[in-house]
């Protein structure tokens, strides 16, 4: 029991959860309406899109790459889904095609990074531009509106008093978490990010796993796109622009290290909830909307910097302790000041 507690305390996810609770409490103290069950549900519902994006991003960041095209993938897959919905296609076909669009975009990213050796930031920045342009061309620069009601209502369906989308998200996140931490293949992602040469030597198919990571990021962005269509009810030209930044920020907040190899999808999901509750919270605090970016940006920088400083302090402390232990062992007559 004690060991489990100790392990829990060391987990980076805990600080994300604590921060989230603190955030809710602070907003709740100023405006108690925020803490009503209904509004908490609303906040959670609003964060689903970002949870999906962050979950996909986690795979990529674990392998020490980055994907800044997820917002654009969200946009184009949302546009495709919405257009097909308007045209009255079969829902199963729509879901398949949308996920395929995401997977294809992810595959292109992964191929460029793993096979052509283009640095991921450059590659995905390029595909971001391409996909944004393609989306404009596809929609002709017009909003996709007049979607069938059944799809819009899907976002409001409840099961046991909880929104179905939240339940689906929860199940998916738990499954991914188990896959990443328990399954043999799932652990390859972190292994690649931790030590790519080492992973290669022990027989991890590095390139294939990297491509898989990007494809998964694409698929999850497409899922986020579907959520977007269902919740928002129309697709504008700028759908999902800037969402990549929120997703990366969510991962970082949740303890997924951009150096690769460290992090969990649960952490990233909590990070995503933090990012979107900041924006919802500001509404409840009656802060004018033009403050949103300033506050999210400041919080992002603040949290990341404080985290980096704390981590550095801890590792330096550990180093010092090791050094002290060694010196005291060698020279017993030397007094060491703690």
């Amino acid at each position: 029991m004690k060991r489990i507690l100790l392990k829990l305390a060391k987990m980076r996810e805990i600080s994300a959860i604590l921060f989230l609770i603190a955030l809710f409490l602070i907003i709740g103290i100023i405006n108690p309406i925020f803490l009503q069950g209904q509004n908490i549900m609303l906040t959670l519902k609003g964060s689903i899109m970002y949870v999906f994006l962050a979950a996909g991003m986690t795979f990529v960041i674990l392998t020490k790459e980055i994907d800044v095209s997820v917002g654009a993938i969200l946009g184009i897959s949302a546009a495709v889904a919405a257009t097909m919905l308007r045209n009255g296609n079969n829902i199963v076909l729509i879901l398949l095609v949308t996920l395929l669009v995401g997977a294809a975009a992810g595959f292109i990213n992964g191929f460029g990074v793993a096979k052509l050796g283009v640095p991921s930031i450059v590659m995905t920045l390029g595909t971001m531009g391409i996909l944004r342009g393609l989306m404009f061309i596809y929609t002709g620069g017009k909003w996709v509106e007049n979607l069938p009601d059944y799809f819009k209502k899907a976002s409001q369906v409840e099961f046991l008093g909880i929104n179905v989308f939240i339940l689906i998200t929860l199940t998916l996140i738990i499954m991914i978490q188990l896959y990443l931490s328990r399954a043999r293949k799932g652990r390859f992602f972190a292994a690649i990010g931790d030590n790519i040469e080492g992973a290669r030597l022990v027989g991890v198919p590095v390139n294939r796993m990297k491509i898989t990571a990007f494809i998964l990021a694409g698929i999850f962005s497409a899922l986020a796109g579907l959520v977007y269509v269902s919740q928002v009810g129309f697709v504008g030209n700028v759908a999902g622009s800037g969402a990549e930044m929120t997703a990366i920020a969510a991962c970082v907040l949740g303890g997924v290290s951009l150096q690769g190899g460290i992090g969990s999808v649960v952490g990233a999901a909590f990070g995503a909830i933090i990012m979107s509750s900041i924006n919802t919270g500001l509404v409840f605090l009656k802060v004018p909307a033009y403050w949103n970016n300033t506050i999210s940006g400041t919080l992002l920088i603040l949290i990341v910097v404080v985290d980096a400083l704390v981590q550095r302090h801890l590792s330096e402390k550990a180093k010092k302790q090791r050094l002290m232990a060694r010196t005291s062992f060698v020279k017993e007559d030397v007094t060491i000041e703690a």
Partner: protein, 330 residues
Amino acid sequence: MKLKKLLKWETSLVVILILELLIFGLINPNFLRISTLLYSINDFISICIIALFLTFVVITGGIDISVGSIIGLTSIVIGVLWKLGGMNIWLTLPIALLVGAACGAFSGFLIAFTGVQAMVVTLGGMLLYSGLSLVIMGVSGASAFEGISGMPDSFVQLANGSVMGIPNPFILFFILIVLSYLILHKTKYGRYIFLTGINKNSAKYCGVHTKWIIMSTYILSGMSAAVAGIILTSYLGSSRPDLGSEMTLSIVTAVVLGGTAITGGKGGVIGTAVASVIVGMMRFGLQMAGISTQYISVAIGLLLIIAVALRNAAGKDAFRRVIQKNKLKA
């Protein structure tokens, strides 16, 4: 050997530029008129200016994606100080430069001294600076959609005027190329930037203050974004918070296409300068060819990926050849 290789890449960039001009000239003969070409730079001068100094940042191994939002912020600072603060518009320019430098210094300080990745810090910076410009607009009561316009004519002439038939932005671009070339390739400071990018630790052991070097490159890129903001505000005659928000892709493309390695340690200003004109001409040429602006980001994205992929392939080939040669010798 290394210099030769660099020169080779820069010559091929010039060839690409000439090809590009010819193709656009075939599509629309008006494109090749000297005055059109000279004045086209107004459309993409911001990309050129920022790319020059972003090269410094990328050579140290960093990246700055907040430059686009610094353009908007400086533009708003100029507009608000002039219109609502009642200041002389020329006096607002040094303040705008200071704001750019401060933004760069803030990001640079965090990157250099806390060890957080440049990508994350400038990501936060991007949100923060673009947010700040909205806040300044909101607090001062101006409408973000309309912007602040009606700038005095003398200020508008800064970007729209010309000296002996050469447009002012062109002259500015030339001066900045020379300046950045001298700084990066001819001074001790420039060598330190390269050394920091090649191997930060060995640079540190050689007595280079790597942290200050890294921070200073962000200050430079922030200031260049401020200069771009000034020129863009003057060119449009109005200040808007969303100026430059779409430029990040083009700016990074210019730097990478120019031969600067995104991993740091390698690169140069001349390559960036030529590449930024290629990227800018592509935007301008596609517009002139009557292709809708939406295609431009597709073209630039493709250009970025293909350029880097080809360079990588070429590099790998050369590497393989060297290894084979050595094997034969042995």
